[in-house]
Amino acid sequence: MVEPPSLDAASVFPPGEITGPGLRVFPLDGLMFAAVAARRGRTVELAATIQATFGVALPDGPSQAESGGLSFIGVGPGAWLAVGSDPALATRLAEAGQGLAAVVDQSGAYGLLAVEGAAARALLARAVALDLDPEVFGERGAAVCAFGHLGVVLWRAPGSDGFRMALQRSTAADAWRHLAHAAASLKACG
């Protein structure tokens, strides 16, 4: 009898990066995602538990908070997307949030892109209908929004002027083409 095979994980994005003047778009591999939804009326307790266990203050509303490489992005009332490198992210969150939140592993559902550089806003303006000016979409800015015709979760990269964009796996190839198209325009037009 042979050992059960172990399955290899496939990456969300095609290999490589998209670059241009003042622009670098690249996948952030090895990250885990989990959806967290507070049980009815337990948001305050959940926030206290998350603070105590992970040292992150759960954001209230469309914004993000990060500590020690673990980010929580507000994606709806009482709903967050957690992103971190802990391979057991969803399990640990579920344990901590027992009775306080529904936690679902979404590590296969999303891929994360870093959009960095002085031209990041100019690039995103080609597909995102949001005012990303730093005075409007500040350091803790986050939004569930459309990138072209695709649904994405977009937030400011902690500690940098760049952005993070979580894309659904099924749409990653589409988004990648759109980004490449926009970057080519940036390169040609400045």
Binding site: A38, A101, G108, S170
Partner: protein, 996 residues
């Protein structure tokens, strides 16, 4: 250079240091950077540029801007050929190739100019009156012939090779137009601290500041414009967009603008979009679109050489081109008189200045007489003559004397019309101002202000002051504080003076709308025939309906209508202007969304696996799914879809197949009240389902019709996973959120879409258990006893978590295996490897469809939004012991009528006879009428199990008619044959195989 005989020796905003080569109708010419095609042609002495739309009249440039109705040309060649481009707005580039259009055999000699001879009978309404009979002739004979004769150039016949893009922008103050008012507004708003976007349609900023010889605070106005542009461009909080036309105003402070990035280049640079569509969201907007000069209306006013006075000045000042050698100025507005002095300064011999208005200030007359021009106050131009270009003007003096002047330029100025169209995009009508003799945008869309000439200001000083005021106000409204500033002063200027409008009774061909060849007589005819509303006159005569949207013609026609109808200007009103202000290519609206990117595409995690097995993919909503996996046949060509699908379906019934079902919607539902919510969502009960089991459920809409079906599995006491059809995944998620958040917010239940998280494969067929047992090893007991039909388990394959479901869509012993999506591709390959010894076959949607039709499972064709549970034979699922969404309305008499078409199986009487979806069901021998319609075929398949064509259908009183023969009538595809009505489950009705 001598090749540009009309180029002035000095001046102009052109780069004399370099030469731009271009061609018009095959002739080579030279111009300079900074030229438009029209200015370069005029510099070369080319005045005849086009033929008109209807009468093929010779035409030259009327204007020096984007409002041009006459000088429409074809630019470029091949795939980039672009008809109807305004030569007056086309920026010259090296290698530009332009051709005249709508003429044959040449621009000089155009045979269809004979249409002009027939003009007396081709007036307004001619087509409506003439080509009515016989009616059938309109589409086949008249319209094609008329379209051939009335040309607007030829579109490119190859696909557009360029790319386009859309960009979003946000600002505090958007300034539309960069003339004196616009520049002043942008500076004032920015100096107050606002984020500013300034849009200018032209390739140069400045508007009239660069088209006139004017001064601001004692310095040339063009220098002030240059300094203002420098200040704005240097500011990171200002975005200056030249070559950008704001084409529409939309709700909520949204503005559409089109930026032409590469129209002034032979071809875009690699990666460079040709055009960019801006969606600008502005808290405040200042419309500083200026004003357009009106033509005067007299016979021959369309002849090449007849030009607007302001355009003649623009050619002289901005482009350093003498618009003629010898000119007559026809002024009906005080400011047009300045043209005489400006032309004289440019070396043009000004023969006469004619003004139809009596009693003008002596200062005007004196200035004209100083340059030696004959002055005819109270005179009118009777005719502009010459073929094809202007040679002579006949004038009737106030005394009645007829004077003739030899000339090649007639500069006419009928006064200025504020360009307020954008302000009426949201339905706000322009208001007649008796003082200003103009329609002004006084009733404005929210957030918009108007400044400068569009607001009725006449002089440079007034425009600058208005701009500063509106810019500062806009910034203040957006929350900024504007510092005070010193007013800017322009030089001394004449105003408009008394207004002059076209009079009824003009003889000959006097044009109002040059582009659509609408004459004063046409409007007079329309009014005689009873049209009073300017909107009706417009539609009857086609006035203002060409690509220029009547920018130079509408007001003259309104004035004529107002006089003839006796309504007066205020009552006659002005037409509403709708977007786009200038034509916008559809490609610009599409942006990135073309071809492959026309709409979003979703790939399943195992997409590459399907391709590797030769799958032919099909669209299933946004998803790409494997339709079938054709193989090379040993005895011949590659299988077609039917051969492949039949082989795949048969392989599943006989052995084992693998199908990617990752596209099905999947929703994770958790919380103490999850079961209660499911009971309310589904017609049947779920809360009593045991952990580790799945159940088929039917979901109704509130109106009692079927929304969707699928299975939900209970993973733990308070955790479920629901599956939906691919088509309804988003809809069901929405439905569930609505129920949770709006209908029953007190329930403690959370729902999260996990459609993207899980890759899922059906492993179906009598050998499916062997395959999985081989894969998972003996520690996992998949026997009927341990893992019966509808069992669910969470297991592991190596380190990977796996969800295993004993579900069957095919009616065979079958499982569904789900892994987190990142492992989906590996699992597909692993299943194929493990299935090798069992002859595993990948199967696609076509085979899936055969299998489910053989089992009578409803899917897309049946779940069409019009069926009840009872129609599908699933009435028994509807619980009588609990409430659920749709329960009450499902009991409406119309929905429980026993006559309703109900699900049946259909079998072709002649097995080889093809059944087609959509065929109507009729009693045999009955005429095929809508009244006799008894239902229709919803799904069809060739059944390898039955060796013939079968189908599902909705048939009146279906279940009572098993065994009957009915007619399947398909007039669209010529199908007509008899079918036997039968129960919808064709294969294994007892279900022994799936429980096996």
């Amino acid at each position: 250079m001598s090749a540009q005989p009309f180029r002035l020796a000095t001046g102009g905003a052109i780069d004399r240091g370099s030469t731009t080569r271009f061609a018009f109708d095959g002739e080579a010419y030279a111009g300079h950077p900074g030229d438009t095609l029209a200015s370069a042609l005029l510099a070369n002495g080319v005045r005849l540029m086009a033929r008109s739309f209807k009468y093929h009249r010779p035409r030259g440039a009327l204007t020096a801007g984007p409002e041009e109705p006459n000088a429409l040309v074809e630019l470029r060649t091949g795939a980039r050929r672009e008809p109807n481009t305004r030569a007056t707005a086309a920026e010259l580039y090296d290698g530009l190739e332009a051709r005249s259009q709508n003429r044959w055999p040449s621009l000089q000699l155009d045979v269809l100019a004979l249409n002009g001879l027939a003009a007396p009978v081709l007036g307004a309404g001619f087509y409506y009156k003439t080509f009515m009979w016989p009616r059938a002739f309109w589409e086949r004979v008249y319209e094609p012939a008329i379209r051939r004769a009335a040309g607007l150039g030829r579109a490119a016949d190859a696909a557009d090779p360029d790319t386009y893009e859309k960009v979003h922008a946000f600002c505090d103050v958007l300034v539309i137009g960069s003339g004196p008012a616009g520049l002043a507004a942008a500076l004032a708003a920015r100096r107050a601290g606002a984020r500013v976007i300034l849009c200018e349609e032209d390739f140069s900023l400045g508007g009239r500041l660069i088209a006139e010889a004017q001064e601001i605070d004692g310095a040339p106005a063009s220098a002030w414009a240059e300094a203002a542009e420098g200040e704005l461009r240097a500011d990171p909080k200002v975005r200056v967009l030249q070559r950008t036309c704001v084409f529409g105003v939309f709700d909520g402070g949204e503005y559409g603008a089109l930026e032409k990035l590469a129209d002034h280049l032979a071809a875009p640079a690699p990666g460079q979009p040709r055009q960019r569509l801006w969606k600008i969201v502005a808290r405040r907007a200042v419309l500083a679109s200026g004003a357009l000069e009106r033509p005067l209306v007299f016979p021959g006013n369309d002849r090449p050489g007849v030009m607007l006075a302001g355009a003649a000045r623009a050619y002289a000042h901005r482009f350093a081109v003498a618009p003629g050698r010898r000119a007559v100025v026809y002024a009906a507005s005080d400011d047009a008189w300045r043209t005489a002095a400006d032309l004289a300064a440019a070396g043009v011999d000004v023969a006469a200045v004619v003004d139809p208005r009596p009693d003008l200030p002596a200062s005007l007359r004196q200035a004209a007489e100083r340059i030696g021009a004959e002055v005819l106050v109270g005179g009118t131009v009777m005719a502009a003559l010459g073929a094809p270009c202007l040679r002579r003007v006949e004038v009737r003096a106030a005394s009645g004397r007829i004077a003739a002047f030899r000339c090649d330029l007639l500069a006419m100025g009928g006064g200025w019309t504020p360009l307020g169209g954008l302000a009426s995009n949201l339905g706000h009508r322009l208001t007649w101002s008796p003082e200003r003799q103009a329609f002004l945008p006084l009733d404005l869309p929210p957030g918009m202000a108007v400044a400068g000439a569009v607001a009725g200001a006449l002089t440079l000083t007034d425009c600058l002051a208005d701009g500063v005021r509106r810019g500062a106000e806009g910034a203040a409204d957006a929350g900024f504080h504007a510092p005070s500033s010193t007013p800017l002063r322009g030089g001394e200027e004449a105003g408009a003076g008394p207004a002059y409008w076209p009079r009824p009774g003009t003889k000959g061909m006097a044009f109002l709308d040059f582009q659509n060849d609408v004459t004063a007589k046409d409007v007079e005819l329309a009014v005689r025939e009873g049209y009073r509303s300017v909107e009706h006159v417009k539609r009857y005569t086609t006035l203002g309906m060409a690509t220029d949207q009547g920018k130079t013609s509408n007001l003259n026609a309104h004035a004529l209508t107002a006089q003839l109808s006796g309504l007066g200007m205020e009552a006659a009103g002005a037409v509403i202007s709708r977007p786009p202000h200038q034509p916008v290519a559809i490609a610009a609206f599409a942006g990135h969304s073309r071809g492959l990117d026309f709409r979003p595409t979703r790939h399943t995690p195992a997409h590459a696996w399907a391709l590797a097995h030769g799958a032919v993919m099909t669209d299933s909503g946004a998803w790409k799914r494997a339709s079938y996996f054709p193989r090379q046949r040993a005895d011949g060509p590659v299988e077609d879809w039917l051969q492949a699908a039949v082989r795949e379906a048969a392989a599943v019934r006989a052995g084992v197949g693998v199908c990617d079902v990752s596209t099905l919607g999947k929703i994770d539902i958790q919380g103490p009240d999850a079961g209660a919510l499911l009971d309310r969502l589904y017609a049947n009960r779920f809360s009593n389902l045991a952990v580790g089991r799945a159940r088929y459920g039917l979901m109704l809409r509130e109106d009692g019709l079927v929304l969707d079906d699928g299975t939900s599995a209970r993973l733990a006491e308070d955790r479920w996973v629901m599956s939906t059809t691919t088509a309804n995944a988003a809809r069901v998620m929405q439905h569930l959120d609505f129920a949770r958040q709006v209908l029953w917010p007190t329930l403690d239940v959370q729902a999260i879409s996990v459609s993207e998280q899980w890759a899922q494969f059906a492993v179906a067929g009598p050998r499916s258990r062997e395959l999985l047992q081989a894969l998972f090893g003996p520690t996992l007991d998949l026997s009927n006893r341990a893992f019966p039909y509808m069992a669910v388990a969470e297991v592991r394959l190596g380190e990977t978590p796996v969800r295993l479901f004993r579900l069957s869509f095919s009616g065979e012993l079958a499982f569904e295996v789900a892994v987190p999506a990142q492992y989906g591709l590996a699992l597909a390959r692993t299943l194929m490897a493990a299935g090798g010894p069992f002859g595993v076959t990948p199967y696609g949607l076509e085979a899936l469809s055969i299998l489910r039709i053989e089992k009578g499972h409803p899917a897309g064709g049946e779940l069409n939004g019009q069926v009840t549970a009872g129609d599908l034979g699933l009435g028994g699922l509807m619980s009588r012991k609990k409430d659920f969404i749709g329960r009450v309305l499902a009991g409406r008499p119309g929905l429980i009528d026993p006559d309703r078409p109900t699900l049946v199986g259909l079998r072709a009487c002649e097995p080889s006879q093809r059944l087609r979806t959509g065929a109507h069901l009729l009693a045999p021998g009955v005429a095929a009428t809508a009244e006799a319609d008894a239902g229709y075929v919803t799904s069809t398949a060739y059944s390898p199990a039955l060796g013939g064509w079968i189908g599902l259908g909705l048939l009146r009183r279906g279940p009572t008619r098993h065994g009957e023969v009915v007619r399947a009538y398909d007039p669209l595809r010529g199908g007509d044959g008899e079918v036997v009505v039968c129960p919808p489950v064709f294969v294994d009705p007892e279900g022994g195989r799936l429980r096996g």
